[in-house]
């Protein structure tokens, strides 16, 4: 039999192909941990990527958190190996109160992963924007809503400002908006009926819808709390 160049290549390919058929790596993590942070079943709206959930798996050398940032609607998800984890939301993150073991130290949640798991979290926000309705009127959007104080008593906080944000994509926050209107906390006369109006600028390329949310900044708390996202058709 005569060896042809092609034969050698083919043989090499087969040999190399089979020889490399060996497990040389770990399996990728495959268990999904997901859930949502809520207050009595109500959405706690956040700015995306701003409030992290940290998962720690002790016992594996280096110390470091697996972070799963909360999305705009308070959902999170993370792909993990099976095992025991500790979950925290770091101190002073988020526009809400988290159960505290001692003042200033937030409680840790033990999470045992074996297979997929859904874990909803409960937190108490300082305020909630409720009953937000939006009206389009000649290039402007008017939002009417309530700002309900949820935490009262000694740990109550005040409103620094409330903003109506408009964006052309579904990411709507102080960082991502094309237009916004603001009312200072001191200027709010009746928290049960607040109205804000913002104009919709010309969008290029043109689109006939925008996304809107109302955000509330609590004094002394960095993260704002938002109303549920709403898509509004402008014409």
């Amino acid at each position: 039999m005569q060896f042809k160049y092609q034969h050698i290549i083919l043989l090499l390919a087969v040999v190399l192909g089979t020889a490399s058929c060996k497990k040389d790596n770990y399996e990728a993590p495959s268990s999904t941990l997901k859930g949502r942070i809520m207050y009595n079943g109500e959405e706690i709206g956040l700015e995306y990527n701003q409030v992290p959930i940290e998962l720690y798996q002790p016992g594996f050398g280096k110390v470091g958190a697996i972070t799963a940032p909360l999305a705009q609607d308070g959902t999170y998800s993370s792909l993990l190996f099976d095992g025991d984890y500790k979950m925290i939301i770091p101190a002073s993150q988020g526009p809400f109160q988290w159960r505290e073991t001692t003042p200033g130290v937030r409680d840790t949640l033990a999470v045992k992963m074996s297979g997929n798991q859904t874990l909803d979290l409960q937190a108490t926000p300082y305020f909630l924007i409720r009953a937000a309705t939006y009206r389009v009127n000649s290039g402007a959007i008017t939002a009417t809503f309530r700002a309900d104080q949820i935490i009262t008593g000694t740990s109550a906080k005040t409103i620094e400002r409330i903003n109506l944000y408009i964006n052309k994509t579904q990411f709507v926050s102080g960082a991502d908006n094309i237009s916004n209107a603001e009312i200072a906390g001191t200027a709010i006369l009746n928290p049960a009926a607040i109205t804000l109006t913002a104009t919709v600028p010309t969008i290029s390329p043109a689109q006939n819808y925008v996304f809107v949310r109302v955000g509330l900044k609590i004094s002394g708390v960095e993260d704002m709390i938002f109303s549920p996202l709403q898509k509004i058709t402008t014409n």
Binding site: P90, Q93, G174, G220
Partner: protein, 644 residues
């Protein structure tokens, strides 16, 4: 016979030649490594070791840039870019647009954790202390200099990271497999500041008292460091109370407010020691008759005439230690290197912050009371009657550099309200009613997106080297970076005195700085806002902005992530909490209307450059830079930063 004789002779020679002791042959002293005892026997050699340690100091803003230092600095940073952030300037280089497009800073930003350098400083101190062949005077000075560098570097770390482990001896690993004895927890933030202050007190008498010694540590440098460090600690103690979130329970971050007064007192004492002359003959630079030229010359004059600069990072042309700041930022129209020019463009935000000569704040007037445009015969007229530091810091439209006027204008404003412009000065167009092609936009800008030319309407003047050839890449520039200068010492003293309730003392110091800038009407009864303002305009582009805003806990209020409107821009100038999230531009147009008396005059418009899509947002987690997981894993005693 003859052959045998020669052969045997060779054999004998070979054998005797090989008869050398093994140790003589093998123990060759290496030529590229100087042993400790040799290095520390000769003051010139010690100085060269020390020179390396000087070179490794770290500044926030540097003229020659930062090398990559993972994980904190990713990629080489060109020098000019370290001046360009915080909305005080616009970066006219498309590759740097991220500075104005991002909506905040990474928690990693500004971090340093260079314990290799600390170790080398500790080793130097240990070895110099043990050296026997040095003269006592030399030895004392060298050790004091190394201690100064160490204290200054700890100061740099504490500004960025809060309390860090205080290591003052070189650590040695004993190969036992146990490293817990090498793991040091973070000191309290106040302890690091105390260390800096006590080191300065300990070494100040050991350093020379010589105002002409600028690139090596002097008594005044130690005192200036002490004054600044104590001021920082005092203000963190005082204003940190407004942000209780930015602190850790163990005070690794955060200083109790009860300590504020003691720190302010120390700051004032140290500053006054320089001011009363006991550290050498320092004074404000008042040499040139034109106050703006005089202000610019502070940064250019390295001779002993300059009694203002206290400690500088020096450069020297043809020595290898040069920087390309002038190459990167020279006016495009007179550039020595074609497209290498014009990157750092001060914003209108900082330009309008320079007050008028009657001590009032006012925006650059673009409209009159009726809302009609203001017409100026010369572009420079719009900036007349202001703080002389404006023209000393910023190269204004039509100002002169290297004998040439910069050509900054955005186009023709036509009578019908439309604008005639083009995307390049070389692209000529005819004016309406004519058929002669003429230049319709300035050679130095302003066109949105046209990099290396001004896009904000201004160029930088501070540090810009007027020497012939300074704009060439082959030569570059040797303008020094001033780390401590007398004017800052005066402002430190003013602030400390103000915080201690001694307002008249504070007035005295701040008015000296202002008088030098042409603001001859003295202030009486300075306020916090006045101090914030004065430091901003006097020390802008000197690496103070971030740290000043941090220690006053103003950073999260000034850079709050909201976008700015023109109305917001031009109002509340001089307020310490004025929003400053986006760098605005001031574009000038030539008015063309042959029928009007204003024909050929200039009008100005406030413009947000199109590249500015982000708005700076400073989060609580930005107050102290991230300590990475690598560091936390290597030393479990280190506590994390708050809010991260």
């Amino acid at each position: 016979m003859n052959k045998i004789y020669i052969l045997s002779l060779v054999a004998v020679l070979l054998m005797t030649g090989a008869c050398k002791k093994d140790s003589d042959f093998l123990d060759v002293p290496p030529k590229q490594v100087i042993p400790e005892e040799t290095a520390f026997s000769d003051p010139a050699l010690v100085l060269s070791v020390l020179g390396d340690l000087y070179n490794r100091q770290r500044d926030f803003s540097t003229l020659d840039g930062q090398p990559e230092e993972l994980p904190y600095i990713v990629g080489d940073q060109p020098g000019w870019r370290s001046f360009a952030d915080f909305s005080e300037a616009f970066p006219s280089e498309n590759g740097s647009n991220f500075l104005v497009q991002r909506t905040g800073w990474d928690f990693l930003e500004w971090g340093i954790w260079n314990y290799a350098y600390i170790r080398d400083l500790n080793l130097f101190i240990q070895r110099a202390t043990a050296a026997t062949k040095l003269q006592e005077a030399d030895k004392t000075r060298f050790i004091a200099e190394a201690r100064f560098l160490r204290a200054n570097f700890y100061f740099e770390m504490v500004k960025r990271m809060g309390g860090v482990p205080l290591i003052t001896e070189p650590l040695t690993y004993d190969y036992s497999g146990v490293v817990t004895n090498l793991q040091t927890p973070r000191a309290k933030e106040s302890e690091v500041y105390d260390f800096v202050i006590s080191e300065a007190e300990a070494i100040k008498t050991k350093l020379p008292t010589d105002a002409s010694q600028k690139s090596r540590a002097t008594k005044a440098a130690a005192l200036a460091m002490e004054s600044r460090a104590a001021l920082y600690a005092g203000s963190i103690a005082k204003y940190g109370a407004t942000t209780p979130q930015v602190s850790t329970p163990g005070n690794e971050v955060g200083i109790p407010s009860a300590m504020a007064t003691a720190y302010y007192t120390k700051s004032l004492t140290a500053a006054e020691e320089i001011i009363n002359g006991s550290a050498g003959a320092y004074q404000l630079y008042k040499v040139l008759p034109d106050l703006s030229d005089n202000f610019a010359a502070i940064f250019l004059d390295k001779s002993s005439v300059n009694q203002e600069s206290i400690w500088i990072e020096d450069f020297k042309v043809n020595s290898g230690k040069v920087h390309g700041f002038t190459v990167n930022n020279q006016p495009f129209s007179s550039s020595d290197e074609g497209l290498d020019a014009g990157r750092l463009n001060p914003s209108l935000n900082i330009v309008e912050a320079f007050e008028k000569l009657d001590n009032t704040y006012a925006p650059i007037a673009t409209k009159d009371a009726n809302g009609d445009p203001m017409y100026y015969t010369n572009q420079l007229d719009a900036f007349a009657g202001r703080d002389a530091r404006l023209a000393g810091t910023v190269l204004l439209p039509n100002a002169t550099f290297k004998g040439k006027n910069v050509d900054i204008w955005a186009g023709y404003q036509l009578a019908d309200g439309s604008i005639l412009t083009s995307d390049d000065a070389g692209r000529l167009k005819p004016l309406p009613g004519t058929n002669v092609n003429i230049q319709v936009v300035g050679k130095d800008g302003t066109v949105n997106g046209q990099e290396f030319r001004s896009q904000s309407g201004f160029y930088i003047r501070k540090y810009l080297d007027p020497q012939v050839g300074s704009g060439r890449r082959g030569r570059q520039s040797d303008v020094a970076f001033i780390r401590y200068r007398y004017s800052e010492v005066l402002l430190n003293a003013a602030e400390a005195a103000f915080e201690l309730g001694r307002t008249s003392v504070a007035d005295g110091y701040i008015n000296q700085v202002r008088a030098r800038a042409g603001l001859t009407t003295p202030l009486s009864g300075v306020t916090f806002d006045r101090i914030v303002h004065e430091r901003r305009v006097e020390l802008v582009f000197e690496g103070h902005t971030l740290f000043d805003m941090k220690r006053w806990r103003l950073a999260h209020r000034v850079w709050d992530g909201g976008s700015m409107s023109v109305n917001e821009l031009v109002s509340n100038i001089g307020s310490s909490t004025k929003r400053n999230t986006q760098p605005y531009a001031l574009w000038s147009y030539k008015y063309y209307n042959p029928a009007s008396p204003n024909n050929g005059k200039w009008i100005f418009k406030e413009v947000l450059p199109s590249a500015v899509t982000g708005a700076n947002r400073f989060q609580f987690g930005n107050y102290y830079s991230l300590i990475t997981n690598d560091i936390l894993s290597a030393n479990p005693k280190i506590v994390k930063q708050p809010n991260q």
